[in-house]
Symmetry: C2
Subunit: 163 residues, 2 copies
């Protein structure tokens, strides 16, 4: 008799295998280049930079690429609604400040990063590592956004051997 | 001898099976509720509505939920940078107008929708169907965003049996 062959292997369902496969994808292999500004930049400069670089989130850093804040399109939109002079307001006033920033590490799985994006309702996560000079500080080395995850989803749907 | 059992089935690699699985996911099973406004609304009202509903894109409609435009955070941010009175500018001036809008249908795969989001560099796709009164017009019935795709990615990584 012909053996019964199905989608199952080693007692796992097809979807458990998918899950395992997805969890092998690492942040370091998918992260995009971070777009950064300093705390002294104005809200106006931040908006211009967001359009120039075509990103949804800017990371605000101190010397040595140390993460000090995150500034989203929403933060900028809120501050541009008022009557204030956008050149006079520093971006550090409207940004979300450390330690209230959700981050991820290069060795983390893309699945963990995506889960944090959904759980904390943010558009992007800075990819960070402990700074060389002071390991209490975080150095920005990349970004993971909903675009990153959407691209990874498309790659999976194309059947590209990504890992 | 023990048979060689691996990740392969019917001549397909593991990743081709994943691809097949992902392409079974349909837009209609994942779409979110669309947030709509009329063409007469002002840019100021659009910004407020975007914050109230916490979305990144508004769909601009005519009577019968007929799609006439799409307004993104980027469109609003651009118009709020100038010195103009946001209450005096109608949203129809800053929106992207039909037929320059990328859409998707309920029966399409989520993979096709995600591919369009990446290819056309948009944040969201209105889910549409031909209008009952005039099939040349499109009625808005939902939205697919990068958040939708990120949630689907997380579900796959959790091994939830979604189909």
């Amino acid at each position: 008799a012909r053996p019964r062959v199905g989608y199952y292997y080693a007692g796992k369902t097809r979807d458990q295998l998918f899950a395992q496969r997805i969890r092998q994808m690492k942040v370091k292999d998918y992260k995009a280049v971070p777009v950064v500004m300093t705390e002294e930049a104005s809200v106006y400069e931040a908006i211009c930079n967001m359009f120039l670089e075509d990103v949804g989130t800017l990371y605000i850093v101190r010397e040595g690429a140390i993460l000090s804040g995150v500034c989203s399109r929403k933060d900028l939109l809120k501050s541009s609604m008022g009557k204030q002079d956008l050149n006079a307001v520093p971006v550090s006033v409207v940004m979300t400040r450390m330690p209230n920033i959700v981050t991820c590490f290069p060795e983390e799985s893309l699945f963990d990063a995506a889960s944090k994006i959904i759980q904390y309702q943010v558009d992007s996560l800075p990819v960070v590592k402990p700074a060389e000079k002071d390991s209490d500080q975080l150095e920005v080395v990349g970004r993971i956004t909903k675009t990153t995850i959407t691209k990874a989803f498309v790659e999976l749907g194309e059947g590209r051997e990504t890992v």
